[in-house]
């Protein structure tokens, strides 16, 4: 009986951690975040998890853009914009992207 209860507890913990985990793909699929022309992830539907995820991903992207800009003698924003164009191009249909007019649209 005790063993069964422990296994149930472990199962619940695993399930809960899985439920809490949110990756970019999942967030995009859920319509929580989307790609923007400025090269950064934007929050489509603000939830604490979506904002935290976008902040984390964008911090990493900025580091990458900055390294590329320094390597190529260009600006961080120029790199980010080019990356944003590519990211929007690569976004699968059904996910949100930000249009030039600032509106979120489903690709």
């Amino acid at each position: 009986m005790k063993t069964a209860a422990r296994w149930m507890a472990v199962g619940l913990l695993v399930c809960s951690s899985l439920a809490m985990a949110l990756d970019v793909g999942g967030a995009k699929a859920q319509g929580l975040v989307g790609e923007q022309p400025d090269g950064y992830l934007g929050v489509v539907k603000a939830t604490p998890e979506a904002v935290a995820l976008a902040a984390d991903i964008n911090a990493k992207r900025r580091e990458a853009y900055d390294a590329i800009a320094k390597k190529n003698g260009t600006t961080l924003d120029q790199v980010a914009i080019l990356a944003g164009q590519k990211a929007i191009e690569k976004t699968p249909p059904g996910s949100y992207v930000k249009a030039p007019n600032g509106q979120w649209v489903k690709k």
Binding site: R61, N72, V79, L82
Partner: protein, 893 residues
């Protein structure tokens, strides 16, 4: 001869035994007599209505535990603890004697004087209780037809002296007014005298009140009450020689307030004329009986004053007082009205239906079914109360049903709805168990303010003249789209207009979303007691915030203190992770707030997360003055020093300057105060000592007095406007071609240049890019061009005769005329048409004219200005011009 025997005489007891027998018989007879007497006395006492219980003998004295004296079916007196302390003279002690009236309907008789010829006696009563009197200590002695009595309660005493042989009596005593009502001050002195014989009673009683007053009022007054009784006829005259202070600043005006006469069975005449005046006006009561028994009469109660008005006819008949339906205007604008007559039984117990309505401004408190009951000094009101109307802009609606009495209230919880858009609260206050002497209230409330849900509980209990309790409330900040639960827990105390939240009271705001911002939990805790009078607050709060996150930037945890000082408030906040300090001060100004913000922080890369620029170092200090009236505004200046930053591949350092800032809702103005300076700006080509002025609203950027050192020369523009479709002139002067050639960054450069050039570069500055039109660079003095021999040059020369001739001519050229016409499109494509006129000193100074055209993408060209390197490298290698580099960033982590 022997005499004949005769019957011997019976043996008679000895005389000693006979005496004993007779004594025994006598004692037996005496016992029988005593028993008979006691029994007879007991029987007689019982016949007289006296019943004894607990007869006994203790410590040499006879005792009676309890006794009662009934007159027919009326219990006239009862006592307990009777003890015969001495038999001669008779001395009795009684613990308690309770007297009750057994008067019967019908003509009343004069009380009979005490019987004459009684043996001397003394009676002491520890507690004498009589109708309408407090418990008294009494001592009565009688000797030789002289009666003396002493009645006392505390310091108040009454001494009575009566001689039963001639009927003369007199009495005198004192009575503190506080015995009547605790709030009264002063003393009554009583003097009485007269004659009391069977069928005859004369009395003259005079009561003088001295220094009468009311607590809290320094005024004092006297009063006199004079009553006479002659046989069955009496007269009463109450006079106020001076105004008599009453409660709440009222004065009973000097006059003969009461005159009455009558006999033992009733009142023959009565004239009451009470006139009181106070801050609110005057009150006058006139009573006029319509028969001698006072069973019927009329009267009038008049209230008159600035805030007081009522004319209430009243009448009484058959032991019932009737107040005609009417209304009374009372102080503070209160109006009391009763739609139907109030009928009050003039009896010690009864009940009356008392519908009423109380109006105060736009508030109405009404009861239609209220009933007042009273019995032997106790009272109780029961019914329903309904409150409705508006007060201070709030709509109030309440109801309650239950009972009220001196012990408190019982009934349903008091329900009160308070609303004033956007506030709406439903308050519930259970009343059961509330002791009016030590009230403890536990109210719950539920409602909302705007979109703020409000729910909580307020406990309060009286503490001295004030209240104290605790408050627990929950809400949710409405501007949070998610989360933002708010929880308040506070202990409070105070009194009207002066309230305090105790130190430790805490407000917690849970994590939530505002717009796209994730606000981490924050808390405000009272670091000291917070005092407020409802409008202003004093005290200190400690703020602890876990920071904020958006998709682009993060604000680290902050902490600090908030000081409230009435009309002023100040805050000191720190962001330890950034070593930033923020100080805010604000004070109330009219209907708004004015204040200042001071910011002092080092600049660091951690702050740059949301920027297109990375701050490497520097210091920012700013002072802003702000005001929040109908709209907010901020004005001030920001000082930058030792700033180093980069935009990726573009580096800047040594930045300093001062910016004036003006912010309004929806707009921000930046203007430099003096020049903004950069020691170095490396855009591939190093600009030094950059200086400019700036004016911007973050949409429109105007640069003025632009100066920079560039390539040994200078760059200058009087004004540059971005964005603008106009072509704005940038002037370059004294550019050192040797410095240009040095950009080849080659120890053996293909091209060697000397001399200086300058010119104008009309630029079009647009968001889509920079365009150049009709740019012209000319030589400023003589130039030299050298193409020294090298393996590469030789290879080119050997490949083509024409090229060989050109290189021979260019191998050493003194240029006296140089013109470069430049144009560039927004896409960065630059067209350069260069004309060189000069001589070759090594070939007899033959004149040389070289026309050279070149197209290049300026995004790269201007970034590096490695024109010589590019020209030579591409000429030699025939490499097509490079296009803009196309970086391939990582787009996902």
């Amino acid at each position: 001869m022997t005499p004949p025997p005769s019957t011997p005489p019976a043996a008679s007891p000895p005389p000693r035994f006979r005496w004993r027998r007779r004594l025994l018989l006598a004692l037996l007879a005496l016992a029988v007599l005593i028993t008979a007497a006691v029994a007879g006395t007991y029987w007689w006492l019982q016949q007289q209505g006296l019943q004894l219980q607990g007869l006994g003998w203790r410590n040499g004295a006879a005792t009676v535990a309890q006794w009662q004296w009934r007159q027919q079916d009326c219990l006239a007196a009862q006592g307990r603890g009777l003890r015969v302390e001495r038999w001669q003279p008779l001395t009795l002690a009684l613990q308690q004697l309770k007297l009750q009236s057994c008067a019967k309907p019908g003509p009343r008789q004069l009380p009979a004087p005490p019987p004459a010829g009684l043996p001397p006696f003394t009676l002491r009563i520890a507690s004498l209780q009589a109708p309408a009197l407090p418990a008294l200590a009494a001592a009565v002695t009688q000797q030789d037809n002289r009666w003396q009595a002493q009645l006392a309660q505390g310091a108040d005493k009454l001494a009575i002296d009566y001689r039963s042989d001639n009927g003369q009596w007199q009495a005198q005593g004192t009575l503190a007014a506080a015995r009547l009502t605790p709030q009264l001050l002063g003393q009554w002195r009583l003097q009485a005298s007269g004659r009391w014989l069977p069928g005859q009673l004369h009395a003259r009683v005079q009561a003088d009140g001295r220094q009468l007053g009311y607590q809290g009022d320094a005024r004092r007054g006297d009063a006199r009450l004079l009553a006479t009784l002659h046989e069955r006829q009496w007269q009463l005259d109450a006079t106020l020689p001076h105004a008599l202070p009453l409660a709440a600043g009222w004065l009973l005006q000097p006059r003969r307030v009461l005159q009455a006469s009558g006999d033992l069975d009733g009142v023959h005449s009565l004239q009451a004329d009470l006139l009181a005046s106070g801050p609110q006006g005057r009150l006058q009561l006139q009573l006029t009986p319509q028969d001698q028994s006072l069973q019927r009469g009329r009267g009038l109660l008049l209230l008159d004053g600035k805030d007081l008005h009522a004319r209430i006819p009243l009448q009484w008949a058959k032991r019932q007082l009737t107040l005609a339906a009417g209304e009374a205007r009372l102080p503070q604008g209160v109006r009391l009205s009763w739609p139907q007559a109030w009928q009050l039984p003039l009896s010690a117990s009864g009940s009356s239906h008392l519908p009423f309505r109380l109006d105060y401004q736009q508030l109405q408190l009404a009861s239609n079914d209220g009933t007042l009951q009273w019995d032997d000094g106790r009272w109780q009101w029961q019914g329903a109360l309904a409150l409705a109307g508006r007060h201070a802009g709030y709509r109030l609606a309440g109801q309650w049903r239950g009972q009220l009495d001196p012990q408190g209230a019982r009934g349903t919880p008091l329900q009160l709805n308070v609303s004033k858009p956007p506030l709406a609260l439903a308050i519930s206050l259970p009343v059961n168990g509330i002791d009016p002497r030590q009230p403890r209230l536990n109210a719950s409330f539920d409602g909302h303010y705007r979109d703020w849900p409000l729910k909580g509980r307020l406990a309060a209990r009286q503490q001295g003249n004030g209240w104290q309790g605790d408050l627990a409330a929950t809400s949710r900040l409405p501007f949070y789209s998610r989360g933002g639960a708010l929880q308040l827990a506070a202990n409070w105390h105070g009194s009207a207009g002066k309230w305090q939240l105790d130190s430790g009271s805490k407000l917690n705001v849970a994590e939530g979303i505002v717009g796209g911002v994730l606000l981490k939990p924050l808390s405000l805790q009272a670091a000291s007691a917070l005092l407020t009078d409802g409008n202003r607050a004093h005290g200190q709060l400690a703020l602890s915030a876990d920071g904020a996150v958006t998709s682009r930037w993060t604000l680290p945890p902050a902490n600090g203190t908030l000081q409230l000082a009435g009309e002023q408030a100040s805050a000191r906040l720190q962001l330890p992770a950034w070593r930033s300090k923020l100080q805010l001060e604000a004070r109330r100004h009219g209907a708004g707030v004015i204040g200042s913000v001071q910011l002092d922080t080092p600049l660091s890369a951690a702050m740059s997360r949301g920027l297109g620029v990375t701050l490497q170092q520097g210091q920012l200090a700013g002072t802003l003055q702000g005001q929040w009236q109908q709209q907010w505004q901020l004005d001030g200046d920001v000082r930058l020093s030792d700033v180093a930053l980069d935009w990726g591949g573009i580096l800047a350092n040594g930045g300093r300057g001062r910016l004036r800032l003006a912010a309004r809702p929806g707009q921000l103005q930046l203007q430099s105060d003096g020049p903004l300076e950069l020691a170095q700006l490396d855009v591939g080509t190093l600009l030094q000592e950059v200086s400019l002025t700036l004016r911007s609203d973050l949409q429109d950027w105007q640069l003025g007095d632009v100066h920079a050192r560039l390539l040994g020369g200078s760059l200058q523009a009087d004004s540059l406007h971005w964005p603008s479709s106009a072509f704005q002139t940038v002037t370059v002067q004294q550019l050192d071609l040797a410095a240009v050639a040095a950009l080849q960054n080659d120890p053996q450069p293909t091209v060697q240049l000397t001399g200086r050039v300058g010119g104008t570069l009309p630029l079009q500055l647009l968001p889509a890019g920079i365009a150049l039109q009709d740019g012209l660079l000319r030589n400023e003095g003589e130039l030299t061009l050298r193409v020294p021999a090298s393996a590469g040059v030789n290879a080119m020369a050997q490949s083509n005769r024409a090229v060989q001739l050109a290189l021979d001519m260019l191998s050493e050229l003194d240029v006296n005329d140089f013109q470069a016409r430049l144009a560039m499109q927004q896409n960065g494509l630059l067209d350069a048409r260069v004309t060189l006129k000069g001589v070759n000193p090594r070939q007899n100074r033959q004149p040389v004219v070289l026309n050279y055209s070149h197209s290049e993408n300026v995004l790269e060209l201007l970034r590096s200005l490695r024109i010589g390197d590019e020209i030579s490298r591409r000429v030699l290698s025939r490499k097509p011009p490079a296009v803009t580099r196309n970086p391939t960033p990582e787009t996902s982590p």
